[in-house]
Amino acid sequence: MTAAMTSRERVLAALHGEPVDRTPLVNPTSVATVELMDLVEAPFPDANREPELMARLAATGHTELGFDSIMPVFSIIQESSAIGCRIQWEQKDNWPTVKMTEPIFERSEDIRIQDDWMDHPDAQCVLEAIRILRREYPDVAVIGKTMGPWSQAYHSFGVEKFLLMSLDDESATKDVLDRLKRLTVEYGIAQAEAGADAVTLPDHATGDLVSGEYYKRYLQEMHAEFAEQIPIPIILHICGRTVDRMGYIAETGMAAFHYDSKNEPGESMEAVGGKIRLVGNVNNPQTLYAKGAEDVKDEVRKNLEAGVQMIGPECAIPLQTPIESLRAIREAVVEFHGLN
């Protein structure tokens, strides 16, 4: 253990695999809820489109829930909106989504990314929110988000079409990923310049649809490139059962892997072999949303006992998650370390 650290120091140390004074609470994805939206008067959908509201809502993760990080990019659609995907913005109680039934690309040659794509208000919103948070919370880790090319391909081609392409035509699939990856790199770098300490990089080669071998074939090398090109620690996020690819992920040079509750903490720590840090795993739909604080604490303790380096929910939490369940995450970490 080192002397008392600030939240920011604690998170950065954990991401770099350095000693910490206690296990940091990190949310690589959203911890916004409808109650927190009311508390700070920053409701969806506006909090996804107006930087002041985005920053204010995101900050509650630290000020009200006690996380060591603040993550303002609640959704996964900001870049997709910027490149022309149709967005269903929804209401306060639901997530904005890309209308993937209305794809904007048919073939890899259709992919045209304008050089000024980041000038779009939905891309700028994130950058400005990060600047606000950096200014207002100098001692808290600010985490951005840049979507990976696999996720972008789902959004711009449609899930079914892109998955079929990945089965039928390896060359075309790689061409699509190559053409989309500049979004990931450019947005990651821009967020670093805006003041982010780290970025989450969701790339939904999820356990239910994409095998570990596919991850290796299509994404491992590209993710290693991202780790070289984006100048801040990257937290890769992939939902589902992913133990079969954790060994590959651990070789990419990314700082951490944000992992799902479908993977046991012990087996996951073994799978990554100390080459990448883990964060996440606390179940959202069953535990955080529907069970009580004691069940939340049990899951947190299981991660702490397995040596998982950062504690947090497995993915963006349901917007109706009870606040008492979220606060139980911090209570469990504090109790585990015997702190007040």
């Binding site: 409808v34 209401q91 109680d93 890309v98 939902c239 739909p285 917007l319 606040i323 008492e324």
Partner: protein, 211 residues
């Protein structure tokens, strides 16, 4: 406003109240020396929110037979001093259906069945038990009473005494509450579907799992 740590456990949440600027309003259960109480609470500061919380608490009292806890317009409790969680969740949701420009009214212990021509009656038989009966059952048709009794058991987690008799575990009468539940029990499937939809809304799914 700050996060309240004295609310206890959240029982149910309505994310967007159409009658009060889409405010999010919850029902919380707090343990007290006098037994559990229900607190109707919102973190919203929109105009009229205090009045709205008071109205919902009042609706719970009228529709469900709860009592106000002295000194707080938005805190209620059951006269039996216990807590019937599933029944109160359902009651809380139903209070949002009450037109706020009208006074809530207690539901009678009988109602025409929505799926037949039968009239469903619920009769207290002592010890917190209620017998479900049906009249006007056409010859050759089955009585809907057993189905309604099963629906009450499922909807409000009541005890199943026999085919047509259900009971509150506290052993006390809850006439108003059973009257309110009777309305929903007649279309159990719709009530459960509504619960499922509510539970799935606001859950972010991976792009690969989105429709």
């Amino acid at each position: 406003m700050q996060i309240r740590t004295d609310l206890g456990t959240r029982v149910e949440l309505v994310s967007m109240d159409p009658h009060c600027h889409d405010a999010t309003i919850g029902l919380y259960r707090r343990e007290t020396a006098d037994g559990p109480v229900g607190i109707v609470h919102s973190y919203s500061s929109v105009a009229g929110i205090a009045k709205r919380l008071g109205f919902l608490a009042e609706a719970m009292c009228v529709l469900g037979g709860l009592e106000r806890v002295e000194g707080d317009d938005a805190t209620v409790r059951l006269p039996c001093r216990t807590w019937h969680n599933a029944a109160l969740k359902r009651l809380f949701l139903d209070c949002f259906r009450v037109d706020p420009s009208t006074a809530p009214e207690v539901k009678p212990l009988e109602a025409p069945d929505t799926r037949s021509e039968q009239l469903i009656r619920v009769e207290p038989v002592g010890g917190g038990r209620y017998r479900v009966g049906a009249t006007d059952v056409p010859e050759g048709d089955d009585s809907r009473a057993p189905a309604i009794a099963r629906a009450l058991v499922r909807l409000a987690q009541l005890e199943e005494v026999d085919e047509t008799t259900v009971g509150f575990p506290c052993g006390e009468r809850h006439d108003a509450l059973i009257g309110a539940l009777l309305v929903r029990a007649q279309n159990l499937r719709a009530a459960l579907r509504e619960e499922e939809l509510t539970a799935s809304r606001g859950v972010l799914t991976a792009p690969s799992a989105q429709e």
